[in-house]
Amino acid sequence: MSEIPNTPLETPVEYPDLSALWGRPLQATHCPHCGVAHLIPAEMERALCPACFEARLEPQPSINRPEAPELLINFSTNPAQVQAGFETWLKGVWLRPKELQPGMLAQRLTRTFIPMWLVDGGLSGTWQAQMGYDYQVASSQEAFRNGKWSTRKLTETRIRWEPRAGSAERSYQNLNIPALEEHTRLARGLGKFNLEAALGYSPAPLENASVRVPSLLPEAAWPQAQSGFERLAAQDCQRAAQAQHIDEFSIQAQYQNLNWTQLLLPIYTTAYRDEQGKVYPILINGQTGKIFGVRHASQPQARNWSLGFLALALFCFVIGLLSAAAATQWAALGIISLLFFGGALLAGIVAPIPAFWAWNFNRKQEGS
């Protein structure tokens, strides 16, 4: 790996004066359950961890990166809009746990900012690649129908691969590099943020909000930044060589003038528990309102429904048997016996449906 000039010190520092750095009173905390570090307003004591909702945050004496971020994107959705989003999101979830209700989720909404890096820098070095150039070939399809031949002319596009090499000296700005280990998962679930809306840091938007502390500091995030630079360099080399495709790109480069900028992205977090007490956190993009989380169907409720139908089936069956026995004396009871047997059959068929539906719904949710 090349040297990373201008990168900050990576070792934890003593608890600094966060208020001076961030412009408002903040305290450094961590979650004893998930280990995630947060900065929370000083007045939010013993708040639930907005990442896992499993434990209350505890103060911690040191923090990896105490400096305030350079940029921040403010919330552009409000809790009412998010609640409306929950209504739509939960449509079609039949057997919900008690806590999986739009109102209850909205009640627990927590404003949180998650960090990411924007990296500027330049590279110079030598590269080589296989460049693919499209070319057209004439082909045809011959058809024989009713004793006659007909031709359909076709044009196929094929790729001619040729080696290319050269030198590159380029500068790139604002590479999006994760500052959290789970950034890729979050980005996939929350969708894109409009980075154009980023503003210079000010403490006002942090009111009643927690801030995730970067878990990937520049040194740890550098491999991703380097591959980002290489990806951009590959695109530029492809453009320079006027190729339509590129493969086997490699570059030996030196990196200069690296500058890491921290940007905070706005998200809401909330959570619900199922009947077994398992917590399911839900994240909401604070810019677009996109919801990311698991909608879990209640297995106990489903089981109860299934057992209820099964009991009904058993009851009908027993009554049907008794009616059938009595029908040997009073023939009219034979009709009633048939009705109860029919009811038992129907209830027996319906009985597994709730349990199966809940199991299948949860399986699909976990798969997605």
Binding site: G125, A138, E142, R145, R158, A165, A168, E169, D236, A240
Partner: protein, 427 residues
């Protein structure tokens, strides 16, 4: 900019579309064949010619010889795709100083040595041949099969060929002495393709059934055909199918010279053409490909039909997808001569690799008609005799029947002879 950058060996700088990035690509292969090459003897200065017996250029004056070396490539010779880019990038011209002679009689364009100012056209024996500058705006052949046989080897084969056949003049073989054979490299295209065809047809299967015939009040047997839809698929990979590149010579005659052994293909070297004539193509790549593609399509159709296990087929349809089509432009060795017989000119060709001879031979039609009359007359005479005998008694039925059989046999033999004579006379 990284000024110290050293590109890989054999790479040259090419245009870059972005500032700050340099691009280097492999240097294009340079055609090492000199633009114009003169074949002069280094010892005596006389012109040298390619001699198949020594596989090199030979000076007829002082005996100097030098082998023409070319890479034997055979059927693995490089093929081109059907791209306009390839056509425009292909090397052009003949790579040696050549003149083109145009025959005003038959229209043939001959590429000959610069020193040849006049020539007898090998295709029509005409001397109405004028020199003009050979065009360089055509594709240059990349491969050829060198002449394996010399003109001296061809003469007796042609004489033997002329002497064959009873329907030709008896003194025809003497005319061969007047025929001057000139070796000519003729232009051909070779084509490859992969064809995947899918067919569908109604196929009929015969079934024998017994039925009760009410009119005759008896059980009889009859054949019924059960029709059902069937489908199938065929994949064919025709390899090195030849397409003729010249219209100056009868295509029928040229096809009679087949096969050429393409495993003897070598890379094109101008030395192979020293002292020999070569004909430039006038049937374009596209035109020749259309012809060969039709043959490939028909071959594929027959392969599809062969999958059907019944003679009863209707509503047959198929779609053939062509893929991986490639081509080569090659030169093949042919000896050509024209001889005159009774004020008429006839063309004779010989395969310069295998010695197969094909050509036109005059037909003495009186011999043909006499033979036909001889074949038909026994049947006619016997039938007439039978008719006469029928008048005088029932015994005539036997010669009448035999005469009819002989007449039918005679008709069949006559048609065969007539077609043979017509085929020998055409082309």
């Amino acid at each position: 900019m990284n000024l110290s950058y050293q590109p890989p060996a054999g790479f040259i700088a090419v245009e870059s579309q972005l500032e700050g990035i340099t691009v280097f690509a492999p240097a294009p292969q340079v055609d090492t064949t000199p633009e114009a090459q003169e074949f002069k003897c280094p010892q005596c200065g006389a012109s040298t010619t390619f001699d198949p017996s020594v596989a090199g250029v030979v000076c007829q004056h002082c005996g100097y010889s030098q082998a023409v070396t070319a890479q034997a490539v055979g059927r693995t010779a490089a093929e081109d795709e059907f791209t306009l880019e390839n056509l425009s990038l292909a090397a052009r011209g003949w790579g040696e100083e050549r003149k083109e002679l145009h025959c005003e009689s038959c229209g043939a364009d001959l590429s000959v040595d610069a020193a040849d100012l006049s020539s007898t056209c090998p295709f029509c024996a005409s001397n109405r041949v004028i020199a003009r500058v050979a065009t360089q705006e055509t594709l240059r052949p990349r491969f050829l099969i060198p002449f394996k046989l010399q003109a001296n080897d061809i003469q007796p084969r042609v004489k033997e060929w002329l002497g064959k056949g009873w329907m030709h003049p008896a003194d025809l073989s003497r005319a061969a002495a007047s025929a001057q054979f000139r070796g000519v490299y003729l232009p051909f295209w070779t084509f490859d393709a992969t064809i995947h065809a899918e067919w569908r047809a109604e196929v009929g299967y015969e079934r024998t059934e017994r039925y009760y015939d009410a009119s005759s009040k008896s059980w009889k047997t009859r054949t019924r055909i059960d029709w059902r839809w069937e489908s199938g698929a065929v994949t064919r990979t025709p390899d090195d199918w030849l397409g003729i590149g010249t219209s100056k010579i009868s295509q029928i005659l040229l096809k009679r010279l087949y096969p050429f052994d393409l495993s003897a293909l070598v890379g094109y070297e101008p030395g192979f053409l020293a002292g020999w004539q070569a004909l430039n193509y006038d049937i374009s790549l596209q035109t020749s490909w259309e012809t060969v593609k039709n043959q490939m399509s028909e071959d594929t159709r027959q392969a599809c039909r062969a999958q059907i296990r019944s003679v009863h087929v209707r509503n047959f349809s198929m779609v053939a997808d062509f893929a991986d089509e490639t081509w080569r432009y090659i030169l093949l060795p042919v000896y050509a001569a024209a001889y005159r017989f009774e004020e008429k000119t006839y063309q004779v060709l010989a395969n310069g690799q295998t010695g197969i001879v094909a050509g036109q031979k005059p037909i003495e039609w009186w011999k043909v008609w006499l033979a036909i009359a001889g074949l038909l007359s026994p049947g006619v005479l016997l039938a007439l005799l039978g008719l006469v005998l029928l008048v005088f008694g029932g015994i005539g039925i036997f010669p009448l029947g035999l005469g009819a059989i002989l007449f039918v046999v005679g008709i069949a033999a006559s048609i065969y002879i007539f077609r043979q004579a017509t085929a020998a006379g055409e082309a």
